[in-house]
């Protein structure tokens, strides 16, 4: 048997943390992980955020992001322990033997240089190819990765191509110097589902054709199942399980892996519409100031009390714009919105306090939606003062009730946002919205930034609260699994129009229009061979290409 390309032994990684109100101290974030990667094989690293998967991936380039330091163990690449190498040798390894594809190609390309300059830079710098040969190789890779106009796309600047295309360019950048190992760090996570499968297929074919080995890092088990040979499951810096793709997907041994495989445990029965909708959006057409085209065309939807309307679509489909129109941040050009039996003023500045109170909002980024210098109690207490004039003991009693409702409890009242996890922060935002006793809450991608298991908990909480408070949700998301889990009605949006609208079962049952079909079929499924099947059966191209 041949030698492994990458051999990791008892790898320990530490970092310095700066907790609020405490002295900075060192913690260990990866506790002794070992694995082998054979040449030409693909190993998937999977886990939630904080599992240490990116950190482990970058250690194969002897790199620690931010304050992260490799504190112990061995990392052997091509028979050398790179942790003992000199900086000059490590520089030859980086960009030569081992290369990296990051999550956000948009941020990882230098905006001031052409794509070609950046794709060939490492090859030329490391002396692997002459500039001419490197450019020829880059053009061949652009073609292989399915980029349009491969001969000329290199002379463009990063902002001149789409997100999906840039992610492929990043893959070309990584493959250009003929590396032995590529570290893919969540390369498709930032893309729309419909774009994701094209990029995924391009990456998979490129790996197969070049015979390069890869570490594929992701939190999405269904994605990693499509490209990997083996999978390693990580949790809190420890290896939980290691096995072939088939074994991990079909016969997971550990409880944690089983939970990852069977995530989305929610079964939600669709409710039928009641007589009076709480919100009705009628013939809304809207455009942004200073632009010449409409981003919403004649949109009509209804939301019934105590129910959930899911608005789904890719980025740019107009779903967040719809939320801005409803909240009055963007007055529409035409159409009107009625809410709780009265017509809403288009501009929020002229709305009554009652209108504002009854229509609340929860955002995608809980971090930035809270004042970091206020305690949880102050954050939740603010709407209680503002809308109901509660003070002192009365206010505190209500805050504690709300904290109990979001399953956090009284002990959180004096904490600051920085001391909370992502899921806990989102719960506090939910409590703040509920404090106003709204009739309706707009949830804008509220679970997109969260790990699957945490997101699952948030969705369960939202459904429970809906039962207790009879609040309606307008749920904006690009994630169809979430839609299945919680909605009563669904509106599929595409290029500013409602493409398909109706009850959940009706919208999600055939016959489909082409776009809904594309959207539904693009959601990764946790089985082997799914990717090839989907690509073969597609009826239309995704908009992101």
């Amino acid at each position: 048997m041949s030698e492994p390309l990458l051999k990791v032994r008892d790898l320990k990684i530490g970092a310095t943390v700066y907790p609020p109100g405490e002295k900075p101290h060192d913690i260990e974030i990866v506790h002794g992980v070992s694995f082998d990667l054979m040449p030409g094989k693909v190993l998937g690293l999977i886990g939630e955020s904080g599992a240490g998967k990116s950190t482990i991936g970058l250690s194969s380039m002897a790199y620690g992001r931010g304050g992260v330091k490799i504190t112990g163990g061995e990392v052997w690449v091509n028979g050398r322990d790179i942790l003992k190498s000199k900086l000059g040798d490590i520089r030859k390894l980086r960009g030569g033997e081992v290369t990296y594809v990051s999550q956000s190609a948009a941020a990882s390309f230098n905006p001031a240089k052409t794509i070609m300059e950046q794709v060939i830079e490492a090859s030329v710098e490391q002396g692997k190819f002459s500039r001419r040969n490197a450019e020829a190789r880059a053009r061949a890779l652009f073609a292989k990765l399915g980029l349009p106009d491969p001969d000329n796309i290199g002379s463009r600047y990063p902002h001149q191509v789409s997100g999906g295309q840039l992610q492929r360019c990043m893959t070309a950048l990584a493959l250009c110097p003929e590396p032995d190992l590529v570290v893919f760090d969540e390369p498709t996570t930032a893309l729309d589902v419909t774009t994701q499968i094209d990029v995924l297929m391009a990456i998979k074919e490129a790996i197969r054709d070049t015979g390069v080995a890869a570490l594929y890092i992701t939190h999405d088990l269904a994605v990693v199942a499509q490209v990997s040979d083996d999978i390693m499951v990580l949790r809190n810096g420890d290896m939980v399980e290691y096995g072939s793709v088939d074994q991990i997907i079909n016969r997971p041994q550990e409880e944690y892996t089983q939970a990852l495989v069977s995530v989305r445990s929610i079964e939600h029965e669709e409710k039928s519409p009641t007589a009076e909708p709480v919100l009705s959006v009628r013939n809304i057409t809207a455009r942004y100031k200073g632009t010449k085209f409409d981003v919403l065309h004649n949109v009509n939807v209804d939301l019934y009390p105590g129910q959930t309307l899911a608005v789904v679509g890719e980025s740019g489909s107009g779903k967040s714009t719809l939320a801005r129109v409803i909240t009055g941040l963007l007055p529409p050009r035409e159409g009107e919105i009625s809410f709780a039996g009265r017509t809403l003023t288009p501009d929020f500045k002229h709305r009554t306090r009652e209108d504002l109170r009854e229509l609340q909002m929860i955002y995608q980024m809980a971090d930035v939606a809270m004042n970091p210098r206020q305690t949880v109690g102050t954050i939740i207490g603010r709407p209680l003062e503002f809308y109901f004039g509660l003070r002192g003991a009365e206010k505190k009693k209500r805050i504690i009730e709300l904290l109990d409702e979001i399953e956090l409890g009284e002990k959180f009242i004096d904490r600051y946002p920085a001391e909370l996890s992502g899921g806990q922060k989102q719960r506090v935002c939910i409590a703040r919205a509920l404090a106003a006793k709204p009739k309706m809450i707009i949830c804008d991608e509220v679970t997109s930034a969260l790990d699957p298991l945490v997101a699952d908990g948030i969705l369960k909480l939202l459904l429970n609260l809906q039962k207790i408070e009879n609040v309606a949700y307008l749920f904006i998301t690009h994630d169809l699994a979430t839609v299945r889990a919680i909605s009563d009605n669904i509106a599929v949006m595409y290029k500013g129009k409602v493409q398909r609208y109706g009850g959940k079962t009706q919208v999600l049952s055939p016959p489909f229009d082409d776009y809904t079909d594309l959207l539904l079929s693009s959601v990764p499924e946790m089985r082997l061979g799914w990717l090839e099947e989907v690509i073969a059966n597609r009826k239309m191209e995704s908009a992101g290409n």
């Binding site: 790199y63 960009g95 990051s102 990882s108 230098n110």
Partner: protein, 318 residues
């Protein structure tokens, strides 16, 4: 039309408009100053008839608007009037002074700008280590000490003790370039020390800001050396704030060097202006003000245009 052409044209038009407004301000400002030019020329013992004659001769009895436009059109054609005190043609007098000032500013900039940017890059490369701290300490000290003090200290050490360069920076048309440079070496050194800190610290801050970006990590993972990362990937994205500070300092080198000119007895614009302010020679003060304003506005306009050109999104629209 390419949006960049439009943006640049806008900047130029705005700068011209601004300059026009400044010219009004200068004119009005010198008009409302107390005192009477005719009186100050002729002295306390002048007869009323002589005063009236001189006023008529100088055009001081015309309405202000007429005088403003006469002055403005004259200035546009390169005629800045005659100095009241000496009767000299201002354009000719300023001509040689201005070219001396620009000569000094140019050579100070040639030394200071590359040095400041290089020191800034060096400070980023060795961030929080001793070279960074040393650069910061020295440049801060040199900006904090009054420039005349630095001037005299350098004069004492280098001109008097070491006798490397002359202490008085006299130049005239008969000197060749080398003699001239030798003559202005000390004022150039002082000016460099004065403007270095500002430009160097802005370079450091602007590049450090960019060093947090994800594309710097990409460059690092390509195995590039630290200096290549800073020079190739960080610097092109921090040009705009750096250029702005560089231009402000260049403007200072032209209009703010009065003290240095006095210390080194250099025949530049600053001295000329100060002389004539004390003699209340209004046409000269107006002319100097207009030229200084034009330099300031022009350099800032260049900074704006460079910022626009350095943005790839504007240079290469979708």
């Amino acid at each position: 039309m390419n949006p960049i052409v439009k943006l640049v044209a806008q900047r130029v038009a705005l700068s011209l408009l601004l300059l026009l407004m400044i010219s009004v301000l200068i004119f009005v400002g010198t008009m409302i100053l107390p005192g009477d030019v005719a009186q100050s020329i002729l002295g306390q013992s002048a007869t009323p008839e002589a005063l009236a004659n001189l006023r008529a001769e100088l055009g001081l009895n015309d309405p202000p608007l007429t005088r403003y436009f006469q002055w403005l059109f004259g200035a546009l054609q390169g005629d800045l009037g005659t100095a009241l005190t000496s009767g000299q043609d201002i354009t000719a007098a300023i001509g040689s002074r201005l070219s001396n000032t620009l000569f000094l500013a140019f050579w100070a900039a040639v030394v200071a700008v590359p040095l400041a940017i290089f020191l800034g890059l060096l400070a980023v490369r060795y961030k929080d280590r001793w070279p960074d701290k040393l650069i910061s300490a020295v440049t801060l000290a040199s900006i904090s000490i009054p420039e005349f003090l630095i001037g005299y200290v350098l004069m004492y050490l280098i001109a008097v003790k070491l006798r490397w360069f002359p202490s008085v920076a006299m130049i005239n048309d008969g000197m060749n370039l080398w003699q001239k440079l030798n003559s202005i070496a000390l004022p150039v050194a002082v000016l460099t020390l004065v403007v270095l800190a500002h430009m160097m610290r802005m370079t450091r801050a602007a590049i450090l800001n960019v060093m947090q970006s994800a594309y710097i990590e990409t460059a690092e993972l390509k195995g590039l050396s630290s200096f290549k990362i800073i020079w190739r990937h960080a610097f092109p994205n921090s040009v705009s704030p750096i250029v702005n500070v560089v231009m402000l300092n260049l403007a200072y080198l032209v209009v703010g060097v009065v003290v240095i000119e006095v210390v080194f007895v250099y025949p530049g614009m600053g001295q000329y202006l100060v002389d004539h302010v004390s003699k209340r020679d209004v046409p000269v003060v107006q002319a100097c003000g207009l030229i200084f304003a034009a330099v300031y506005i022009g350099l800032n306009m260049i900074a704006d245009i460079v910022s626009i050109l350095s943005n790839p999104r504007l240079r290469h629209p979708k």
